[in-house]
Symmetry: C2
Subunit: 525 residues, 2 copies
């Protein structure tokens, strides 16, 4: 395949300086032939300044214009589907079917945000009517709405080369909000990133948007991401990746003259709580379901269930035996890149060597970047004294933990770090659900799943893909679904503003026909 | 007057240990007779643990119950109005009329949040319908809403002993959201704080709420606030005060095992942009208006206009002369406490000595804790090379800055730190408003005021009292108005949850009759 190989800065390309880097086929360990060049300091500065230069004009575009842009990106991606589904497996070892499916999700997300901003209700317009005769002081006319926060730095994720990378969820939500985007391609899939980046730039040109509304920087998060996040033009950050990387960016963002919000999705073990009744009535089904969820995508999902809490006893022993028998070598595969395979090796070795942990399944892969299942077992009592047992092992691994009482179960949950999801497996005989169990789980997670598995994140209006630290660095938000737009906005209000200078969403007579809160009442008037 | 003098921890009192401290009458410098005792480490831990213990039950209370609680607090405050309006002037030098008015605002805020949670629409309920037959995978039933974040630490502000202290906006919004509150009284008004704290505790008992839903800690932010913010039970922080204090708390919150959000309102100079037309047509009116705004409350408002941008020329010289003539000694007064008077002295001395600054008015007060007007003048060119000229001087002071061109005006605005407000004074001959001026100002502020003054913050649904750093540490939020509730909430979703275990807001059939977004459409069904 043929690639430009440089960063894509507005309408032009970046510098071809420094030593090139290459994608690596994780399945073979071989470098791919096409060279890529990391963004130079001048590239980074130019991309950030172009984004700032584009911001005012882009922030004032209507929902209709932004919707057309998002749909144009979706169409441009569709037009390079063939190239993308060839390149994704080469750079990530993900199968072609997954590439096709993930591209579909990516296109779906763009169209979903197009629909959201076209309708326009999302701005949460609020109007309070003036009372010029009020005593002791007149009440002014005040109108508020969500406005874009400014240029956003988006970091591509290694485990979603499309849906959470260059044209993925963070970019879609930021562009929908009215924010220019400077994206840092994940260094493990530079070619897929270029294909997506070019699609966005073609769409931006076709829609006559200001240059700089989107730029793509090649290189690593450390060499390119840190200077970008430090740049005064950048006003928010979207990141999905390691805890180490996310914390480093949060530190950089907090140390700026103007600290900015960082939405870093970093780490989650997604506990599954199995209640006694559920274990009694459908142990086999759950063992199969859990095996599927733990190994889906070679375990490389942020919602992978890495912690299963079971009631002590024979029923759990039988469940564990059945689950373990299904976690054979077929449930492993090739990691997205060698770094993940190495981290998996380190993490599973540490747990294997832990005095309080027994290894139920432990398979070593002999393939390059290969990972195979590791299933561990421990007691809730051990976990309560050593929280490292609940640390994330990114890959097809889980920790099975037996609890001795409902209170110990609640204690374990309350002691957990923040999580993206928490699942309860229950049976009518477990009902009514213990309200404190639900409250405890809710206090630690963003999504509660009943009788299902956490993998599989529905992209919709009500999805919450977020959770208290370290699931995300900002647990008030979601990175999936239409609610994700609010990560890149803030409220602004206008006091006694002339109608001509107000945004259309707040003008007299509601020209856009959106839902607005007028003196506290929702109305389309 | 008679005071308990200790912290108020749930239903009991704190320890009387250590050296007592005393309120000080700023107008005389004399200590008030009643001793107060700072919370001990055991008091702090007990308050935080009680708040955690109360959280699950309180978070599950209905909007009706929380509304009754907020209204009961309002009624209890009203019942001690006489004592409050006597004590406020003694501890703060604010006049009785202000105490009465501020108490009215405080009561109004509590009742406003009562109305908000009683109606219930604020939770932003979102429901997506399951599609069990969807291919390739079924769509689950997902329902999301805003839920309380957990126990909140609230720091009382010195400049609003009622409306932004113990029973003020932060406490009202946190309690409305379903969060227990542990409040740190401002050390400068411990007696007023105890009166308000007791009112809340009486209301909590009358409403049969769990012990610990509210506690009041006496002492300073440093000795009591830092350990409280470090406590694992605390999940968010509301603060109004100095930049030094706010940054210190943000640092403590970020260094926790689980970092938590800090809403610190710290510093703002609230620029007023005067356009040539406005200067031509109503120079005198504006000079009087500005004098009133700069000196309101002895200049001790976070929305005090500390920076005025004027077009260079004779019209501005005349305006400045008129404004200066009105800023006589009568525009000064007694500061809230000696610390503010000292800081005012330091800050005005620094500006007075600055080579690029001329002092237009400089009056020294001879009273204890006295502050008198200081008006400075500089050029936009000087300000562009030294941003210290735009630093906040808390008190009846402002910096008048002349700009030489519309572009220089935009440059100055873009170089400003984040602000709570930005004001434009314009005349029809200045129209149409330069869209880039508006965009630039909007990028730096939370509220844009046209042809008015920033002091006077309307408490309503559309108020945005917040802005980019350092106006607040989290510029996406507001601390005034109903939107303030979202500082203490986060989104949670439920996947395939049984109806019985769902919050009422998300149950089938919409038993509360609230507005909900069902499959993307607002509905009361």
């Amino acid at each position: 395949m043929s690639f430009i190989g440089t960063s894509l800065i507005g309408h032009s390309t970046g510098e071809k300086t420094g030593t090139p880097f290459f994608g690596v086929n994780p399945a073979t360990g071989a470098e791919l032939p096409e060279p890529f060049f990391a963004a130079s300091p001048a590239d980074i500065d130019r991309a950030a300044k172009l984004a700032k230069g584009a911001f005012y004009a882009y922030s004032r575009t209507s929902g209709t214009v932004r919707a057309a842009f998002l749909r144009a990106i979706a169409a441009e991606l569709e037009s390079v589907r063939a190239a993308i589904v060839v390149r994704v497996p080469l750079e990530t070892a993900l199968p072609e079917g997954r590439a096709n499916g993930e591209l579909g999700r990516t296109i779906g997300q763009l169209n979903m945000f197009a629909g959201l901003v076209e309708t326009g209700n999302w701005v949460d317009a609020r109007l309070d009517t003036a009372l010029p005769d009020r005593a002791p002081v007149p009440k002014p006319d005040i109108r508020a709405m969500q406005v874009p926060i400014g240029p956003v730095a988006v970091f591509g994720a290694s485990n979603f080369p499309l849906a959470f990378s260059v044209a993925g969820g963070d970019t879609a939500s930021a562009l929908a909000a009215g924010c220019p985007v400077v994206c840092i391609a994940h260094y493990a899939h530079p070619g897929v990133s270029e294909l997506a980046g070019l699609a966005i730039i073609r769409a931006a040109k076709a829609c006559n948007l200001p240059e700089g509304v989107f730029s793509l920087l090649q290189g690593t998060g450390q060499e390119v991401g840190v200077p970008l996040v430090s740049h005064p033009a950048i006003k928010a950050v979207g990141f999905t990746g390691s805890r180490f990387g996310g914390l480093a960016l949060a530190k950089v963002a907090a140390a700026r003259r103007e600290p900015i919000p960082v939405y870093a999705e970093m780490s989650s073990v997604n506990p599954i709580v199995i209640l006694p009744g559920a274990l009694g009535s459908r142990s086999e089904t759950m063992a199969t379901g859990l095996a599927g969820s733990v190994s889906m995508g070679v375990g490389q999902f942020c919602t992978n269930p890495g912690l299963v809490l079971l009631p002590e006893g024979e029923a759990s022993d039988a469940f564990i035996a059945s689950f373990a028998s299904q976690m054979d070598a077929s449930k492993g595969g090739t990691a997205l890149h060698q770094g993940i395979a190495n981290a998996y090796q380190t993490s599973t070795s540490t747990k294997k060597a832990h005095a309080s942990v027994s290894t139920v399944v432990g398979i070593e892969s002999k393939n390059p970047a290969g990972v195979a299942p590791y299933i561990f077992r421990a007691t809730a009592a051990s976990l309560l004294v050593d929280e490292s047992l609940t640390s994330e092992t990114f890959g097809p691994s889980t920790m099975l933990v037996t609890y001795s009482s409902p209170q110990e179960l609640v204690d374990v949950i309350e002691g957990l770090e923040g999580q993206l999801t928490g699942t309860i497996q229950y049976d009518p005989t477990d009902l009514p659900l213990n309200p404190n169990l639900l409250s405890a789980l809710q206090s630690r997670v963003g999504r509660i799943v009943l009788n299902g598995y956490p993998t599989g994140v529905e992209v919709c209006h009500s999805m919450v893909h977020g959770g208290p630290f370290p699931a995300t660095s900002d647990g008030r938000s979601t990175s999936v679904g239409t609610g994700a737009i609010y990560r890149f906005t803030r409220y602004v209000c206008y006091q006694d503003m002339v109608n001509d200078a107000l945004p259309a969403e707040l003008k007299d007579g509601n020209p856009l026909g959106i839902w607005r809160t007028i003196d506290g009442q929702l109305s389309t008037k």
